[in-house]
Subunit: 320 residues, 2 copies
């Protein structure tokens, strides 16, 4: 009955500095963001979304993105990503030399209009312009499009798979280097994850490179488990599941980095991460954000007595 | 890459009335226990562990087990289970006509001594005596043994798979009708779940009939997902994840019934459960236990806008 194979390695991209911090009220000072990045890097994280190039008046929490990108770029082999909602943001990403620009495209027409004041097709056209500008600049900055509300939408309700896949094809045609699927509002379960990632794989092949889950209804890790079986090897997560869900007060936000790292470690999937160091960093994040609620289970329960500490990049695959 | 199949149906056995209530301070009055059972039954639950035949001085929370069993037996087709730690308990289960007696056997020698003051092999011998008494009485009460601490132990640490499987074989030889594996302390992850359930299946075949996970480190639902792939179709869970973990203050207890029901529903696995009714019952449980912390994510986040209400025993397998 068991014929699935799991990847031997997986990447957890830290998105707490963007998806997390933009969803809370507290503005974390630039020096603490840099401290977070440095410590996460020391704990083995090699991909981070560190901010967003949107007008500061819209997201004052992320107004220092250019400074944060500049610091993050000083860390060897760290892939520095930044969210860009439009061409202007893409130009800033190119100017500041981010390694990847993450472009959200909402497959929900209603969400797209509410969030970006553009239809999905207008976003596709913007992505084509981003690609042209990137190529004209001779830049290597990767363009990665995350199809948001891919599993449903709090405004529109159902988002048909056909529409998600149509958007996926359109952004690939427009020049996206990589694509991912995002469960922006926490509607996904393992059934839909398996089905939609399989379908998306048939369209995007190896350019399907990321899964982004929220733990709103407690299913983020089960969803990761299902996505791993479709060949996904990169997951967005945020330390302490920071961010919450604006649509469901008190509910969890992103998959929590430390819980996800623990699960992958248990499965013998190498992440290169030092979970003890991540937990120590999370404890400091709690201190830095005294008025915010953090999430995740490992930090409350502690590591099991049977846990084997592995140094980052230890390639021992089987700990039991 | 995807060759696994999932079962078309699964059973969630409610264990909150035993595993949940024995782990908290509040003593729930008998009439509220009966109300819980009645409402859970109306929501479609057909298997419940309703108490434990242990001395009342040890577990005053469950001192009314015989009364609760008597009530539960009035509900048509409800499979009424009761935990029994020893022969005396088994005799009471037979006297009161419980449909199943659940016998815990800890694969951790240290945990077995601490919990039952018996070695695993002494428990095996007791199970053989239970089987003899059951057969002599001409009773149909099922004997189900749960191998506890199967994935590790807070006292002993690692519990070797060989020892778990040795215990499994021994209890089958001693006359257990069914066996299950329990992650008593919340150490299991999908890797170990898959490996150990596959090994156990080779020994117990169809008599391997249950998985019991705790959500201590947030992995209960991912563990269910992994166990489903090894052919497990019955899962213990407790409403509101009631129970906590005595070894990790603040941490979650059993997998929460409503979150698990939601996940299975999303996967198109029929449970016969009315999730809306379960959430309403959980809200009352919160009222009945004002000093206890309940867990689970669905109750905070609410059902997705895309959720389709199905009547109990609706056989429509695919909701999307």
């Amino acid at each position: 009955m068991l014929k699935t194979s799991f990847p031997s390695r997986a990447v957890i991209r830290e998105v707490g500095l963007r998806d997390g911090l933009q969803s809370i009220q507290t503005i974390l000072p630039t020096e603490l963001k840099c401290e977070w990045i440095r410590r996460a890097y020391e704990a083995g994280q090699r991909e981070m979304e560190v901010g967003s190039y949107v007008p500061a008046r819209l997201l004052p929490q992320l107004a220092d993105t250019a400074e944060v990108v500049a610091f993050a770029k000083t860390l060897l082999d760290l892939v520095v990503s930044v969210l860009v909602p439009n061409l202007k943001g893409a130009e800033r990403a190119l100017e500041t030399g981010a390694h990847a620009m993450l472009v959200p495209l909402s497959a929900s027409h209603a969400h797209s209009l509410a969030n970006l004041r553009k239809t999905p097709d207008e976003v596709v056209a913007e992505i084509a312009r981003m690609r042209a500008v990137r190529d004209a600049a001779g830049s290597k900055t990767r363009i990665e499009v995350g199809i948001s509300t891919a599993f449903g939408c709090t405004i529109q309700g159902e988002v048909p798979h056909e529409e998600v896949l149509r958007c996926l094809q359109a952004v690939l045609d427009a020049g996206a280097d990589q694509v991912g699927l995002a469960d922006t509002v926490g509607y996904a379960g393992p059934g839909a994850v398996r089905e939609l990632f399989e379908k998306a794989r048939r369209i995007a092949g190896d350019r399907l490179a990321c899964a982004h889950f929220h733990d709103t209804r407690g299913l983020a890790l089960a969803n990761v488990h299902a996505a791993l079986e479709t060949g996904i090897e990169r997951f967005d997560a945020s330390l302490g599941g920071i961010g919450g869900c604006p649509h469901a007060p008190g509910a969890s936000g992103n998959a929590s980095t430390e819980d996800l790292a623990f699960m992958l470690d248990e499965m013998g999937i190498e992440t290169g991460l030092d979970i003890v160091a991540l937990l120590a960093l999370r404890a400091d994040l709690v201190r830095w954000l005294p008025n915010e609620m953090l999430h995740g289970s490992l930090s409350r329960a502690g590591l099991p007595k049977t846990f084997t500490v592995r140094s980052p990049n230890d390639s021992t695959a089987d700990i039991r």
